[in-house]
């Protein structure tokens, strides 16, 4: 029952190949960031996924807008920030290459940030600044 009407990525209009150039901020997180498996083991937490996983999935879904529910060839270019098929294909590419050594779902997050930077949705410098602010905010008790 292999579906014949698969919503394959359109080879006609085509999407650009995934930009695999390293991004300094994300490389730094990749090197020093502590994954959930490591943290959960240290603190004796048993939930398999980090608490931020659902928020990450929601972000991915919302960036996709109606590309979540329309075949790829029916998604009007520019109608959503980051079409789901394009993002997932880029995540596959990035997961198999520069983020191959990062566990899941941390690599899903790195891949999303990578795609957003490369698509010009966010800027590496502002992301660096915002991460610093978030960290300060969450640790300022």
């Amino acid at each position: 029952m292999i579906a014949s009407d698969k919503n394959a990525r359109s080879s006609e209009g085509g999407c650009p190949k995934t930009d695999l150039k390293l991004i300094a901020l994300l490389e730094s997180i990749k090197r020093r960031g502590r994954g959930w498996e490591d943290l959960a083991a240290q603190y004796g937490v048993t939930n398999p996924d980090p608490p931020w996983k659902i928020a990450l999935d929601a972000t991915c879904d919302l960036l996709a807008g109606n590309s979540m529910v329309l075949p790829a060839d029916q998604v009007v270019p520019g109608s959503c920030a980051l079409p789901s098929v394009e993002r997932r294909a880029e995540e596959d590419d990035l997961s198999a290459t520069i983020y191959a050594d990062v566990p899941f779902p941390e690599r899903q997050l790195l891949a999303l940030a990578h795609s957003m930077i490369r698509h010009g949705l966010i800027d590496e410098e502002e992301l660096t600044r915002r991460m610093k602010q978030v960290h300060e905010r969450l640790t300022s008790v």
Partner: protein, 236 residues
């Protein structure tokens, strides 16, 4: 009020902010500030996703095993049958974006002793989230997605599911409009069981089709994730 010291121990929690946690928040906040989506949409979608899991699908299967009429409904109209287990494909998802009406074609694939279904999404990771929750990591990997359609029998064997050669395997390839779940064969040894007892043995893996329900087995196996042998080169 008792003078006894408070004996309740709080559940363990991670007491540090990881770079990944900060990255997730930073990405989300910037996306909201730039108007890519609203904070309210994010909150509603996150709350909705929090409610999802494989239990409704497991209950659908248990009900179908116990009630032949409900089984008929399940295999002919999965969306309608989902209502009986508390899942409304059309109205439950937040409707502030997208077109949820397109996202509501559930097909329930009934196994027989000589026919085994298994679900994949070869393109990305389409999954019947309203009734099955979030997909497992291995379901998302190119390794599973590519190899299952080529060598389903071998891939199922890697999950510990050895099927006799006279059992036909059908691979259902999900897409953005149609989602699938498997209605496995009720196992021997469950005669007289209640719906709750039956529900407990229908694991997520049984619903994807990479496992068969078995009395006493209520958890999924942890499958190691392998990279694809051939590097990814999408025809973008």
């Amino acid at each position: 009020m008792s003078d006894k010291p408070h004996e309740h121990k709080p559940a363990p929690m991670v007491d540090e902010v990881s770079d990944f946690e900060a990255l997730e928040i930073a990405v989300r906040e910037l996306a909201i500030e730039k108007g890519l989506f609203s904070a309210e949409d994010h909150r509603r979608w996150t709350e909705y996703v929090h409610t999802l899991g494989p239990l409704p699908a497991a209950r659908l299967v248990a009900k179908a095993w116990l009630d032949p009429e409900y089984k008929k409904l399940a295999v002919t109209d999965g969306v309608k049958a989902s209502l009986a287990v508390g899942v409304d494909w059309i109205n439950s998802p937040p409707t502030g974006f997208g077109t949820p009406s397109d996202y509501c074609n559930l097909r329930v694939l009934e196994d027989t002793p000589k026919l085994k279904h298994v679900v994949v999404c070869t393109l990305c990771s389409c999954y019947p989230r309203p009734i099955l929750g979030q997909s497992p990591e291995w379901y998302r990997t190119p390794n599973y997605r590519r190899r299952l359609v080529r060598w389903p029998r071998q891939v199922l064997a890697e999950f510990g599911l050895q099927l006799p050669s006279d059992v036909e395997i059908r691979v259902a390839d999900s897409n953005q409009k149609t989602r699938y779940m498997v209605l496995p064969v009720r196992p021997a040894g469950t005669e007289g069981w209640t719906e709750d007892q039956l529900t407990a043995i229908v694991t997520r893996d049984c619903l994807i089709g990479v496992a068969m329900p078995k009395p006493g087995v209520t958890t999924n196996i942890k499958r190691p994730v392998h990279p694809a042998v051939h590097p990814v080169h999408h025809d973008h």
